[in-house]
């Protein structure tokens, strides 16, 4: 069996983006995930966001590890480059890709098993290096492909399909990323496309490591009554504290907003994020306060969503390294090889 190619039908009425591409140009193969899987909604949000951003598909490299979520890059951006790495090791592939070509858009899709267990070390260090990429964790609290074991993000007290109750505390990717110095931290829900699409756009434009933890229920193994990662539970217990609108750079156009209600953030490429506070007591610029707010609500069983922390001032890996502006993979050999004469002169120190 090979992968399933999606029939490509372009209706005449489909809208086109700045590049003249339709949303079809941002799609990929047919999903082979279970019907109703939250991950397919995330895939749809990615397609929508990248279409609206008008990113040339071939300038995007999508990467993943192993797991249900890591299969999804096959279902979007069929015209992009893709790298399906070994389990938990996508962050290192992304780091190398970023090192070689700082102009490529990097989009990583991972899961809670891939990022919070086997790949926790690599995930942490990608955050720490502030790799310029968007990193989406499709978080469902279980291992799907191996049939329903708890993952490290499973909440205390949540039950598996067969009744086993999880007793170990969860690793929350949002709090973890904030504690590690992450510069763009968001949480969303696969069932809330209105929230997710602008977050993906903002994350793509963020210069540095952007992490979006997307609660994405597993319909087969973790969507029952006793689960805290089910559609119903997530709908009932999540609440948005910070709504984000994404405004691409448009010279001459002013976006009207009322002072006090909306916090504008200008990004490196001139895009703007308009953060609208849904909760008055939330501050997305204070790392400490944000973590405390999320923890307090977590204890009450509430899931806080939205763009929870953002800092546009920190340098990414290349900023820290003072790497030259041109992508390293485009540097000519002459600029890299010191040459015959230098080899002769440098060897004097070894005599």
């Amino acid at each position: 069996m090979t992968s399933i190619v999606k029939p490509r039908i372009v209706h005449h009425g489909l809208s086109r983006n700045r590049l003249g591409l339709t949303i079809r140009d941002y799609e990929g193969g047919m999903s082979t995930l279970c019907a109703g899987c939250g991950h397919d909604s995330v895939t749809a949000a990615i397609i929508q966001a990248l279409f609206e951003l008008a990113v040339p598909p071939h300038r995007v490299a999508k990467m993943s590890g192993i797991g249900c979520s890591s299969k999804t890059p096959a279902y979007f951006l069929g015209a992009s480059h893709s790298f399906n790495a070994v389990h938990g090791r996508m962050p290192s592939i992304a780091t190398g890709a970023a090192a070689a070509n700082r102009e490529l858009y990097l989009l990583g899709v991972s899961g809670d098993g891939d990022s919070l267990s086997i790949g926790l070390g690599q995930f942490a260090h990608a955050v720490r290096r502030n790799i310029d990429m968007l990193y989406i964790i499709e978080n469902n609290g279980v291992y799907g492909l191996t049939k329903g074991q708890f993952s490290a993000s499973a909440d205390i007290g949540t039950a598996a399909k067969r009744g086993e109750v999880n007793e170990q505390p969860p690793i929350d990717p949002v709090q973890l990323t904030m504690a590690l110095g992450g510069t763009f931290v968001a949480r969303s829900f696969s069932g809330d496309k209105d929230q997710l699409v602008p977050l993906i756009k903002a994350g793509m434009r963020h210069e540095g490591f952007a992490m979006i933890d997307v609660l994405s229920p597993c319909v087969t193994f973790n969507d029952h009554e006793a689960s805290t990662k089910s559609y119903q539970y997530t709908r009932e217990h999540s609440h948005e504290v910070m709504h984000t609108d994404f405004v691409p750079p448009m010279p001459g156009i002013r976006v009207a907003y009322e002072e006090g209600e909306v916090v504008p953030i200008t990004m490196h490429d001139g895009s703007r994020l308009l953060l609208r506070k849904v909760s008055d007591d939330y501050d997305p610029h204070s790392r400490g306060a944000a973590i405390e707010y999320i923890r307090t609500h977590q204890r009450k069983g509430e899931i806080v969503t939205g763009l929870l922390f953002v800092d546009e001032s920190e340098p990414d890996m290349h900023g820290i390294n003072s790497t030259t502006g041109m992508p390293l993979n485009e540097l000519g050999f002459r600029s890299l090889c010191p040459g015959k004469r230098r080899l002769a002169s440098l060897q004097r120190r070894y005599r």
Binding site: H58, H81, V86, A99, A100, G121, T324, C337, R351
Partner: protein
């Protein structure tokens, strides 16, 4: 002082027994370099502990007018600076040799042997009287024994002084004090003993056109010259100095003097799993990328190495081997990763392995490794070892061909992709050599493809179909056959006499084997020699085997890994291969090769 010593001009071994962390390394390097600058072939081997301060450490300098660089097993002059190891050091001195020790604390009862000369020099007392600070006194004691040796074996003082001036070029104040310490030892020896000893140096002209360099520095230089831009590593002895050197060279040659911008990116990874991932991510994107490591790191990288084999991503790895398994003896040398490198990972995977025999080959083969990795789109492992990587070897100066251009292999540039009729398919083999053209991400919309370690068909699409999988892995086998034609040929040394016996070896065994061949020839035993420089084995290797009735396989591990590889990968009969193994962690001594071959020869004569 009794004179037991035989006259041995330019042919002897000085061994220095020190305590690590006392600054002896720079004094010992100074000694070796001074001998080198007197035009006399010399080599230095450092036997050091996995420790920062306080444990025993030895440095062995072999002076050889014939240019032999291997260990000889004898110690003609022992400089015993470590009381912890006095008795061991005393035992090691060859009959007729000399032991020098610090007689500030006389040890006549402990240090005595009728068949050697004992030379006591009050190094600590002289330095304590002359220098104030405790740390300086310790450091200067080393320079004082350099001075004593200069008198005893006749090292030219002006050569030493020039070296001291170079060493402390940035700290001029230290030149005078170091020269004073040298003079203390020099004068004392001259006043108290008949200098020079019969075992001594005499200026030659045999080091012109040569340098003294370690293999890690040489390999790093190769990476710079090959145009590598991304390096990732996790620090591990004995490979760490490779990345240190790469960074230092890049700071010198790859940094914009005005803006400070770097045209390289070195990432210190969180572990070796990440280091190889970073290399693959960069190489997938068309940068030349590498990672230096050692055995334990290679083990951790194994999953990704197999992935890269199957997904066909170029990568250059340097495995500077040390004793294993596990943490083993991290500061001792071995060739214990031959099989681990050749067959790293799970499933049907095999990898190109290069075996440099000295630092010069570390330079040359690291450039070759990048070309092969790009050409074959696969990981290439340069299998060096601690002896080559961390010791200074005398070798011919490196050369560079200005016409060299990197062989990037079959990479379709965006313009070529644009002109393609139909779609681009990643794993289609148009030329029959098993190599499928690749594209670089970001180049052209038509060039996109999906890199997967999981089952893929020739188009790069996901598959679980047996026939499609088999088609891909069979093509990889064809690519392996291509690799055997592209890898560096073995170095073959033939005797002038007809010989039905051969030696096959790799890497740092080279100096021991070469010396053994000369010494065996002097005894009337003639053998040919094939030093394998790459896996897969080229046809020249199999031809060498087939032309000999009997082959000695010389290597530095317990389990005869090279021999095993030859048994699996060639049709040469196993019962005609005889292993000569050295695996104690010290660089190979030529005598084990001589003894094993001579014994077999005598058995044959007796039969």
């Amino acid at each position: 002082m009794p004179n037991h010593a035989k006259s041995r001009i330019n042919d002897f071994v000085i061994k220095l027994a020190n305590v690590n962390g006392t600054g002896s390394a720079s004094a010992n390097t100074l000694l070796m370099k001074a001998i080198f600058r007197m035009g006399i072939p010399v080599t230095g081997k450092n036997f050091f502990p996995s420790n920062i301060q306080g444990l025993p450490t030895w440095y062995e300098i072999r002076v050889s007018r014939n240019g032999y660089l291997a260990r000889s097993g004898s110690v003609d002059i022992m400089v015993a600076m470590n009381q912890q190891t006095y008795s061991q050091d005393l035992d090691e001195v060859s009959p007729g040799g000399t032991l020098i020790y610090d007689s500030t604390w006389p040890r006549e009862s402990v240090i005595s042997r009728p068949d050697i000369a004992i030379v006591g020099i009050p190094l600590a007392r002289m330095c304590n009287e002359r220098f104030k600070s405790a740390r300086v006194r310790i450091l200067m004691k080393n320079m004082a024994y350099v001075g004593a040796l200069a008198a005893l074996v006749d090292i030219e003082l002006k050569v030493i002084e020039k070296l001291v001036r170079e060493m402390f070029a940035s700290k001029k104040a230290l030149i005078e004090s170091n020269m004073e310490a040298i003079a203390l030892g020099y004068d004392y020896a001259n006043e108290h003993f008949a200098c020079p000893l019969p075992t001594r140096l005499k200026r030659l002209n045999k080091t012109a056109g040569h340098i003294m360099i370690d293999g890690n520095t040489a390999a790093a230089l190769g990476c710079v010259y090959a145009g590598a831009t991304v390096g990732a590593w996790y620090p591990i002895t004995p490979s760490t100095s490779l990345m240190d050197a790469f960074r230092a060279f890049c700071e010198e040659y790859r940094k914009d003097a005005n803006t400070g911008e770097r045209n390289f990116c070195v990432v210190q990874a969180e572990d070796e799993l990440a280091a190889i991932g970073i290399v693959l991510g960069a190489a997938w994107n068309g940068a030349r990328a590498f990672t230096p490591t050692s055995g334990p790191g290679l083990s951790l990288m194994s999953e990704f190495i197999g992935f890269a084999y199957f997904a066909e991503v170029p990568a250059v790895l340097f495995d500077v081997q040390r004793v294993g398994p596990s943490t083993g003896m991290p500061t001792r040398t071995q060739q214990g990763d031959i099989l681990a490198a050749a067959y790293a990972s799970h499933g049907d995977t095999r990898h190109v392995v290069l075996f440099p025999g000295d630092p010069r080959e570390c330079f040359e083969l690291s450039v070759a490794a990048f070309d092969l990795a790009d050409r074959l789109q696969t990981p290439v492992i340069v299998l060096s070892d601690l002896d080559i990587g961390m010791n200074d070897w005398m070798c011919r100066e490196f050369e560079w061909d200005p016409a060299y251009r990197p062989d990037r292999g079959k990479v379709l540039n965006p313009k070529t992709v644009a002109r393609l009729r139909g779609r681009f398919h990643r794993y289609v083999d148009p030329d029959g050599d098993g190599i499928a053209p690749r594209t670089i991400p970001g180049g052209h919309p038509k060039g996109s493809y999906f890199v997967r370690g999981s089952g893929h068909n020739r188009y790069g699409e996901y598959t679980e179909d047996s026939n499609e999988y088999v088609e891909v892995v069979d093509r990889l086998k064809r690519k392996w056959a291509t690799a055997a034609k592209l890898v560096p040929e073995p170095a073959i040394r033939r005797t002038r006499k007809p010989a039905s016996w051969g030696i096959v070896s790799v890497g740092s065994c080279n100096s021991a084997v070469n010396e053994a061949i000369d010494r065996l020839a002097a005894k009337g035993i003639h053998v040919n020699y094939c030093r394998i420089r790459a896996f897969p084995f080229s046809s020249k290797v199999t031809r060498f085997l087939d032309r000999h009735d009997y082959v000695f396989v010389v290597e530095q591990n317990r389990d005869a890994q090279l021999k095993s590889l030859l048994m699996v990968e060639t049709t040469y009969p196993a019962d005609r291969m005889h292993s000569i193994l050295s695996y104690g962690g010290l660089p190979m001594d030529y005598r084990c090769v001589v003894e094993a071959i001579e014994e077999t020869y005598l058995e044959g004569v007796a039969a």
